[in-house]
């Protein structure tokens, strides 16, 4: 397949997942202005940091007068799940040159990781498979810039009754929907989900990465008990 076709496939694959990205970007823009960030700082954060929940946490901690150490470490913890994504993607992106690794690293998001990973699994032999992640990653990046800008300039233009923030967990659900049929994955999903509910009150949103590691620990036990190499 030609590069442009693969790029377009990435764009199309990520499209349904962008439904909540737009209201989320608008909400970030509105919050950032409300808590007193200057519009230019609020907007630049979207491409310097480019990570929704980290940006909101950073802005809130800053306005609350938190120490920089707290701000930076909470951004690090919230983003620590990317380490896991990178470890998974390294199996497909390792041979690329530094330009591509830096570009695709910068564009890595939950959604781009998920849709491009499924593409890579099926097409790992194709020479230009990485163009898929350029397509999915850039689409998300572009919509994030646009929607945060809309939130900063226009204020909240999305009616709350639409419940579009509810679409965030729905898109994440849609990303693991095909795993619901596999018993081993179902156990891992249950461990992660229940752990996150139990650990939710801990500071810095640490529940995400701790639950993920607990669930991966369980997956390790499942593998060593039931899968033979």
């Amino acid at each position: 397949m030609k590069k442009l076709q693969i790029l377009k496939k990435g764009f199309l694959d990520v499209m349904p997942l962008t439904i909540p990205v737009i209201p989320f970007g608008i909400i970030y823009g509105v919050i950032a202005i409300e808590i007193g960030l200057s519009p230019i700082v609020a907007f630049c954060m979207s491409f310097i940091i480019f990570a929704g929940s980290s940006q909101i946490a950073f802005a809130q901690l800053f306005s609350a007068g938190a120490s920089p150490l707290v701000m930076i470490s909470s951004v690090a913890v919230i983003n620590s799940r990317h380490f896991l994504y990178g470890a998974v993607l390294s199996q497909y992106l390792n041979k690329l040159n530094y330009f591509w690794k830096i570009l695709l690293g910068y564009l890595m998001t939950d959604q781009a990781f998920s849709v491009s990973l499924s593409y890579f699994k099926k097409n790992y032999k194709k020479k230009n498979a990485h163009f898929h992640m350029l397509g999915s990653g850039f689409t998300l990046w572009f919509l994030w810039q646009l929607s945060t800008l809309a939130g900063i300039i226009l204020g909240n233009i999305v009616p709350e009754q639409l419940g579009l923030t509810f679409a965030i967990p729905l898109t994440f659900l849609s990303l693991i929907i095909s795993e619901l049929r596999k018993k081993d994955h179902l156990i891992v999903i249950a461990v992660s989900g229940l752990a996150s509910l139990a650990l939710y009150d801990f500071p810095f949103k640490i529940y995400i990465i701790v639950s993920a590691f607990l669930a991966l620990g369980v997956s390790y036990i499942l593998i060593s008990k039931f899968k033979k190499f």
Binding site: L84, Q91, P169, I177, D184, I189, A212
Partner: protein
């Protein structure tokens, strides 16, 4: 001063994304680690999903007749049977709107 910390936060975020892509050599990964890595989406995403569905902003459990719990269950059922991303999202949103209207 905020610019400085925004930049640091940007660098830190970038490093969480970039470091593993570049520092892990897939050839040195053991078979078991590769197998464990296959579970990453199933291990990370539920930790984002569950609190967003079952807890309110203060971290308390939502009432069991709240529209988002029902919308979530219906999305999960549709997703399970049709295995389709768009249908999962749309069925969940639409049933959320219906339940909001009904309750």
């Amino acid at each position: 001063m905020i610019w400085f910390w925004v930049l640091i936060a940007g660098v830190v975020t970038f490093l969480t994304r970039y470091s593993m892509i570049t520092f892990i050599n897939p050839k040195t990964l053991s078979k078991t680690s590769k197998e464990v890595l296959k579970y990453v989406p199933s291990a990370v995403f539920p930790a984002i999903i569950f609190p967003a569905i079952f807890l309110d902003q203060e971290g308390y459990f939502l009432n069991s007749n709240s529209p988002q719990i029902w919308g979530f269950l219906i999305a999960a059922i549709f997703g399970y049977f049709f295995n389709n991303i768009i249908l999962t999202i749309v069925s969940g949103l639409v049933s959320f709107w219906i339940f909001t209207f009904l309750f």
